[in-house]
Each structure stands twice: as structure tokens, then as C-alpha cells.
């Protein structure tokens, strides 16, 4: 009995070892062989593409890229697309410029330092604006006193040593403390808001509830009648029954414009910021799948796919310009 137990355990050990070795060998064996298949198949589209596309970058552009990837996959199932929200800067620094990613989403234009870094590694980033995001100022549903706000008043609230009470900003607002919720300083939303609304890069107050996840801003503002926060329109759209959006005016309060996608597309809403993707020129020229995907991306950037996510689609002119630029890069 004991003897047979020993034997079977030894057999088990040997079996595990053999299986492990086989599996390891399988890994090695397959890596070499996977490159040359999948090229022969063609679909009804005439030419079909295959291969991998890696997309990194801004978490704001991420939902657009995921939606585009999902739609593209339906027609081109041979293409493996991976999308990872790494943040605009993190994507350039760790993935795109070292050459590990084909496309980097960005919620702000690339900086000179980043461009230099990329060029040093032989990566040539090209800019395409694909959509806009309407930043939305939200308050609690019970904050009946506020319906509109100007850039100047926002600056009073959000600058360093900003207002402590609602009444500090406008006299007819109540003597209640301001509770502020906003994105963390790593986010592109934060950068854009600081630069364009508060007025100066980096001059944003730090005594507010900073969070990486816009859902937390919604939860915070919903929980307190004195709260105010700003976030991407997509998050407001999903939660419009929980928080109230405030109309915003760049100058005079009487010109305040409601945050809607139509107003943002027409250019009336002052807090729409552009969203970009930065493909590497080399990827467009060498990888058919990246070129085809970008063509699809730009063509669809003017459609309802973008609106459904809660972003402002590109105009038809912008789309045509982008397509032209893409062709130029492809033929360089």
C-alpha cells in the first residue's frame, strides 16, 4: 500500500515535471511561429489586416479609443488591439516614446520635452484632434442659489487661497462653507482647468478633495449641499439625476451657456477642451493595421459613437483635414 503510494507520487512528480516542461516549451515554440500566420486570410472587404495595435495614454481619451477599437474589431477580428489608460504623460514617458506603443491618447498637446524624448528614440509623434470634452461644473441638487457662474468667479474659488464661503464669491449666495471636489493634479482635466480658467499653469488651490476617479467627485457633490466640483461631461451625463450642472460664461454672467454636447460642438460652451491621439509616424507607415485603424478612428470621430460616450465629436472639416494629414504621413 505504502509502496504503491510512493510509486504513484513519483509518477505524479514526473508527470508534473513533464507537463511543465512541455508547457514551457510550448510557450517558446509558439512565440516563434505566431508571426507568419493570419496573413493569408481575406474577408469580403477585399484586403484584411492583422497584427497588434497598442494604445496607451490619457484616461479621458480611453473611452473613445475603446469604443473605436470595439467597432474596428467587429470588421477586423484578426487585429489584436489593447487599450490601457496610463495617463497622458505616463503614456508618453513609459510606453509611447520608448517605442512600446503605436498610439498615445492625450488630453493636452504634447510638450516640447516629450517630443524631444520621443525623437531621441526615433519615434515621430503626429497630432490628431479626435474629439472634445466639455468640462462641467457640478453642484448639489439642493444648491438652488446657483445656476450660472463666470470664469472669474471660478478663478476666485479655485485659485490658491481661494474663497472659503459661497458668500465670498457672490453676495446673494449663502454664508455657507465651500466644499470642493476635483480631479487630482496628475490629470489632464486639472491642467486644462488651471491654465484656462484659473488663468495660470500650476496655480490651483490644494485644499480640495482631489481624486483620480470622477465617480468620487459625483459621490462627494451628491453628499453635501454646499459642495462644488468639476469633471468630464461623460460623468455628468451618466449622473445627471444625482448632481446639477451649472451654466458657464467666459465673460459676463448673462451670457452663460448650459453644458450640452450641442453647445460644445457649436463652440458656444467655453469649457470644451480638445482631445488628441498621437500615433507614431513609423507605425502608420510600417503597420497596415495601425493605418487602417486610424483611418477608421478619424472617419468615425465625427459620428454618434463619440456622442454616446458623452464627448463632443469632431466637425466634418476637422475630420477631412485629419484624413488628408493621415494620407500625407502614410505616403511620406
Amino acid at each position: 500500500m505504502t509502496e504503491s503510494g510512493f510509486l504513484s507520487r513519483r509518477a505524479f512528480l514526473a508527470g508534473t515535471g513533464a507537463t511543465g516542461a512541455a508547457a514551457l516549451a510550448g510557450c517558446i515554440g509558439e512565440t516563434g511561429g505566431s508571426g507568419d500566420d493570419g496573413s493569408a486570410e481575406t474577408t469580403e472587404g477585399g484586403q484584411s489586416v492583422s497584427g497588434g495595435i497598442t494604445i496607451t495614454g490619457s484616461s479621458t481619451v480611453y473611452p473613445v479609443s475603446v469604443a473605436m477599437a470595439e467597432e474596428f474589431e467587429k470588421a477586423n477580428s484578426e487585429v489584436d488591439i489593447s487599450v490601457d489608460p496610463t495617463g497622458t504623460g505616463g503614456g508618453f514617458e513609459n510606453h509611447f516614446c520608448p517605442g512600446n506603443s503605436d498610439i498615445n491618447g492625450a488630453s493636452r498637446p504634447i510638450t516640447d520635452a516629450e517630443e524631444e524624448n520621443c525623437n531621441e528614440n526615433g519615434v515621430d509623434p503626429r497630432q490628431f484632434q479626435v474629439a472634445s470634452d466639455a468640462l462641467t461644473v457640478v453642484v448639489n441638487k439642493d444648491a438652488t442659489w446657483v445656476d450660472s457662474i463666470t470664469f472669474e468667479e471660478l478663478a476666485q474659488i479655485w485659485r490658491p487661497d481661494g474663497a472659503q464661503q459661497w458668500s465670498d464669491v457672490r453676495d446673494d449666495w449663502p454664508d455657507k462653507p465651500l466644499e470642493l471636489y476635483g480631479p487630482a493634479s496628475t490629470s489632464g482635466t486639472f491642467d486644462w482647468f488651471t491654465e484656462n480658467v484659473v488663468g495660470e499653469a500650476g496655480s490651483h488651490r490644494s485644499d480640495y478633495e482631489a481624486t483620480e476617479d470622477d465617480n468620487n467627485i459625483v459621490a462627494g457633490v451628491e453628499g453635501s449641499p454646499n459642495a462644488m466640483g468639476y469633471l468630464g461631461f461623460a460623468y455628468y451625463q451618466e449622473n445627471s439625476d444625482r448632481v446639477k450642472a451649472v451654466s458657464v460664461a467666459e465673460g459676463d454672467a448673462s451670457n452663460a451657456v448650459e453644458p450640452t454636447l450641442e453647445n460644445a460642438k457649436s463652440g458656444d460652451y467655453p469649457m470644451a477642451r480638445p482631445l488628441f491621439v498621437y500615433p507614431a509616424a513609423g507605425s502608420i507607415q510600417e503597420k497596415d493595421q495601425v493605418y487602417e485603424f486610424l483611418k477608421f478612428y478619424i472617419e468615425q470621430s465625427e459620428t454618434d459613437i463619440v456622442t454616446e460616450i458623452g464627448y463632443v465629436p469632431a466637425s466634418a472639416d476637422l475630420r477631412d483635414d485629419n484624413l488628408e494629414t493621415l494620407e500625407e504621413i502614410r505616403n511620406e
Partner: protein, 547 residues
């Protein structure tokens, strides 16, 4: 209420008001409270997630009633009977009921590996190559009965390497030759040969050993192969690909049949077998009735569609399939990398390392630090993986192999410590007996220590793997993708794992993602994890009974 006397004036301690039981009672109730608090919290959390994932309240009342009458009521009645009259039969019944469900999960995992990760043709080629290699080794052993030193291991390793890997760029491996050979076999036939036949051999061996009859073993093996053929024939009716059905049906049927055969042959608590019959017949009957009367089932987030499709921006169409396959491939890398290294390290530390002198102190320091490493936060291991595998070794960012190696490093200390414990638990008298019979150190380790400690090693290791499958932070650091739309085609490709996908869902604006889809993902992850733990318990029980 502390009424202890300051002086004991000769009286008996504990007599009169000297001893108070209140403190003891308070301590007891405090412990009970802590236990209840912990268990209730975990249970509430799990129930909350499960309700979000399945949404039982969205079902028709008729649906609930039907399943209550066909499934819940009879099963509960039967369980009540077992509980009152015949506990042993209840256990037999519970195992017989759980085994097919558990095997279904394992079978699903195997089919993922055989069909999606290694395509049938690759598996077939590898299987045939392995058979050839084993044949070569066998023939060599027969012909060279007195081999030179290391001749056998060299021949064995050489045969395996030639069969599976080949010499890169010079000699293609045997398995590649078979893969590329113009064999006109469809996937079903290939899997019949390369999966059904091995399963049949294993079943036959199990039966032959138990019944001590070669004939019975042969019959069992033949029945298994026939079962595989039947699966091919039945496939069009079931609506699953025939090669998939072979893997699924055999991995459920073979272990279940072997277990039931054991119960029936020994006429041991046969009543227990009523439980699986009642449970499964009740399930199918309920499903048929619900279909017939048109009662709507719950609008569960966790459904077949969720398990088989990729992420989508519409919550109803979102699924976890690529992440599930990614997780399983990552586990494969972890098992292949962490298990041998960890066990070898433990064997060295326990059996060979000196425990005195300067070297002994160094070894003691190393052991202490391994224990500390087990407590290092996982995000630190993620950074280590990023620096070591991606920056230094220049592997692909976020590929399966980097993820597996990084998480493998993370659980390595746990594997080492649990293996050490298992090896330490082997009684020293057994080692001494082995030496006493003239065995060398190597023979003792190979023939006594390792076989005796394998159950303990496996239990600890599988629990560690359970931790590995849920790790998120290292995957974030090494750049595993949040979303991929197809499972990775090789181990060097970018992948997403279940915890990474769940984390991505938690950031979606829509509440349907954050509550529904996310909960379904969590339940999937938990089911995979619980079945791994169940496997650990099964293995432990099986070997404990033997020794």
C-alpha cells in the same frame, strides 16, 4: 469587579468571592463577537456582490416557484433526511453532486487551453511528439540496461527537447513537423487521439488498479473512447463544436464515472447517489418547465454571453473572455516558473543547507528574509518586474510572460515557506531509516522526503496560486492592458487579466458597469479562485488518506 484579595491569609485560593468568572465569560463572548462580526461582514459582502451579479429579483415569480418545487424543495428534503438518518451517505451524495460541477470548471479551463491557447493541431503535434519521445526513452532503457553515468537523464532530456522545442533555427522540433505535416485530420479526430485516448488510458489504469483486473480496465478505457466518439456524434444536436464537446464531456464524465463506480462496487452508502440524481434531474426539469411556460429568468449580468465575449462600451454586451484566458495563461507561466524554483529552494534550505557556523548564520539570515519578503507589498513586486523584465531584460511591456514571472516572484516566498513547512513535517525517523538502509542523501530526498511532503507542498502552493490570480497592482505596474478584444495568441503578446479588467470597469462612468458588470467579473474571479482552493483540498485529502 476585581475582587482578588491582596493577601492570601492561608485560605484556599478560589474559595469564597476570591475568583470571579466574569472576566472569563467576557473574554469568551468577546471572541464570539469578533468571530461573528468577521464572518457576517465577509458573508454580507459576498452576498451583495452575488446579488448584483445575478439579480435574482428580476426573475418572474413563476420562475422562482418552478425551481423551488423541482430543485430546492426535493434537494432540501433529501438533505434533511441525510442529516437526520445517514450522514455518511450525505457526504457521498455531496461529493457526487459537486464533482461534475467542479469537473465542468476544470474541463472548461482545459478546453480554453487546448482550443484557444494551443490550437488543436498544435496540441496534437505536441502530444504525438511526446509519445515518440517517451517511446525513444523506453526503448533506450530496454536496450541499455547498464547505462553510463548521466546517460539516462541526457537521453531523456534530449528526446524531450528534440520532440517539443527542437534546435532553434537548425532542427525543427518533432511537434512542429507534425504540426506542419499534411495530415488530413479534422480537429475532432485530432482531439480524439490526443485527448480522449490519454484520458481513456488514465481511466483504464484507475479502474484496473482498483478492481485488480486488466479486463475491467480495458473495458473502462474502451468505454471512454466510445464516449468521446459519441460526443462527436452528439455535437450537432447540442450545438457546441465537436472538438470542444469531446474535452468538456470527457473531463466531466470520466472522473464522475470513476467515483460512482467506486461507490457502486463497494455498495457503500448507495443511498447517497440519490442526491445528484435529484439535484440534476430537478435542474433540467425546472429549466424545461420554465421554457414551456415562458417564465422569464433573472436578467443576470453573469451569463453565458458575459463569459464568452470581450469588453464592450455597452454594459449588456460586455464580457470577460479575453481577460479570463489571459488569467489562465498567466497562471500557467506562474506554475511553470514559481513551483519548481520554490520547491527546489525549500528542499535546499531544509535538507542541504548547513545550520551551524558562519554559513549557517547566513542561511538563517536568508530564511528570515524570505519570511519578510512574503510581506512586501505587491506594488513593490510590480516595480521589480518592471525594472527587471521590461527595462533590463527588454521583454514586451504587459506581455503574459512578464505578468506571470512578476506575480510568480510575488508568490515565490509563500511557496518556499509553505514547502519548507511541508518538508519539515516529514518525521526525521523516516530519513534515519532511509540512511540506515544504506541510501544516499539524494536517494533519501527523492524517495522519502519529496513523496512524503508533496501533499503539503501542493496544498500550500495552490493556496498561493489562489492569491496570485487576484493580484492587480503588479499588473498595473508592468502595463497589462485594461482592455483587449481577443485573447493573447502567444505568451509574448499583451494581455489583460481578470482583476485588471475589473479595475478598469470600476472607473466607467455608467452605474451599470460599476455595479452590474463589475459584480459579474468579481463572481467569475471568485469562482475560479474557489475551485482552485477546492482542488487544493481534494489533493490534500486524497494523499492524506493514502499515507
Amino acid at each position: 469587579m476585581a475582587t482578588e484579595r491582596s493577601t492570601r491569609d492561608g485560605s484556599w485560593y478560589g474559595d469564597g468571592e476570591g475568583v470571579n468568572q466574569l472576566r472569563g465569560q467576557l473574554f469568551k463572548w468577546g471572541c464570539l463577537g469578533a468571530m461573528l462580526f468577521g464572518i457576517v461582514m465577509v458573508f454580507v459582502l459576498l452576498a451583495y456582490v452575488a446579488i448584483d451579479a445575478i439579480r435574482p429579483l428580476t426573475a418572474d415569480p413563476g420562475w422562482h416557484l418552478t425551481f423551488f418545487l423541482t430543485l430546492v424543495a426535493p434537494t432540501s428534503a433529501l438533505l434533511g433526511y441525510y442529516g437526520l438518518r445517514d450522514r455518511r451517505s450525505g457526504l457521498v451524495g455531496a461529493i457526487a453532486t459537486a464533482l461534475p460541477a467542479f469537473c465542468l470548471l476544470v474541463g472548461a479551463g482545459i478546453s480554453l487551453l487546448l482550443v484557444d491557447v494551443f490550437r488543436p493541431i498544435e496540441w496534437f503535434g505536441t502530444a504525438v511528439a511526446l509519445v515518440v519521445a517517451v517511446g525513444v526513452v523506453y526503448v533506450h532503457r530496454r536496450l541499455r540496461t547498464e547505462p553510463a553515468a548521466f546517460e539516462r537523464p541526457i537521453v531523456t532530456v534530449g528526446a524531450l527537447v528534440l520532440a517539443v522545442v527542437g534546435v532553434p533555427g537548425v532542427v525543427p522540433s518533432l511537434s512542429q513537423l507534425f504540426r506542419n505535416a499534411p495530415i488530413a485530420l479534422n480537429p475532432a479526430t485530432m482531439l480524439l487521439y490526443s485527448f480522449a485516448v490519454p484520458v481513456a488510458i488514465l481511466t483504464g489504469l484507475a479502474i484496473a488498479r482498483r478492481r485488480e483486473s486488466r479486463r475491467d480496465g480495458l473495458i473502462a478505457a474502451a468505454l471512454t473512447v466510445v464516449g468521446g466518439v459519441l460526443a462527436v456524434i452528439a455535437a450537432p444536436a447540442v450545438g457546441i463544436d465537436d472538438y470542444l464537446l469531446i474535452v468538456l464531456s470527457l473531463s466531466i464524465a470520466a472522473p464522475t464515472a470513476v467515483y460512482v463506480e467506486g461507490v457502486v462496487r463497494e455498495r457503500d452508502h448507495l443511498v447517497g447517489l440519490a442526491l445528484p440524481i435529484v439535484a440534476y434531474v430537478g435542474t433540467f426539469l425546472g429549466a424545461a418547465l420554465v421554457e414551456a411556460y415562458g417564465f422569464a429568468g433573472p436578467e443576470a449580468w453573469l451569463d453565458w454571453q458575459f463569459l464568452t465575449s470581450a469588453h464592450s462600451r455597452f454594459p449588456q454586451e460586455a464580457g470577460i473572455y479575453p481577460a479570463l484566458v489571459g488569467s489562465i495563461m498567466m497562471m500557467l507561466v506562474i506554475v511553470v516558473s514559481a513551483f519548481p524554483v520554490g520547491v527546489a529552494a525549500a528542499v535546499y534550505l531544509e535538507e542541504y543547507a548547513p545550520d551551524s557556523g558562519t554559513v549557517g548564520r547566513v542561511v538563517g539570515l536568508i530564511e528570515m528574509n524570505i519570511a519578510n519578503l512574503a510581506g512586501v507589498p505587491s506594488v513593490v513586486y510590480g516595480l521589480l518586474g518592471l525594472a527587471l523584465f521590461i527595462r533590463y531584460a527588454d521583454m514586451n511591456t504587459g506581455s503574459v510572460i512578464v505578468g506571470g514571472l512578476t506575480v510568480g516572484l510575488l508568490i515565490l516566498p509563500i511557496v518556499i515557506i509553505s514547502s519548507q513547512e511541508a518538508i519539515r513535517a516529514v518525521p526525521n525517523s523516516m530519513r534515519q531509516a532511509s540512511y540506515g538502509m544504506g541510501a544516499t542523501k539524494w536517494q533519501t530526498v527523492r524517495n522519502v522526503v519529496l513523496p512524503e511532503s508533496i501533499p503539503g507542498i501542493l496544498t500550500g502552493t495552490i493556496l498561493a496560486f489562489g492569491r496570485a490570480i487576484g493580484e492587480t497592482a503588479p499588473l498595473l505596474m508592468i502595463g497589462a492592458a485594461a482592455v483587449v478584444f481577443s485573447p493573447p495568441g502567444s505568451f509574448a503578446e499583451k494581455f489583460s487579466a481578470m482583476p485588471r479588467q475589473i479595475f478598469a470597469w470600476s472607473h466607467e462612468p455608467s452605474a451599470e458597469f460599476r455595479y452590474g458588470v463589475l459584480a459579474a467579473g468579481v463572481v467569475t474571479l471568485l469562482v475560479v479562485l474557489l475551485s482552485m482552493n477546492a482542488a487544493a483540498i481534494l489533493i490534500r485529502n486524497r494523499y492524506q488518506r493514502r499515507s
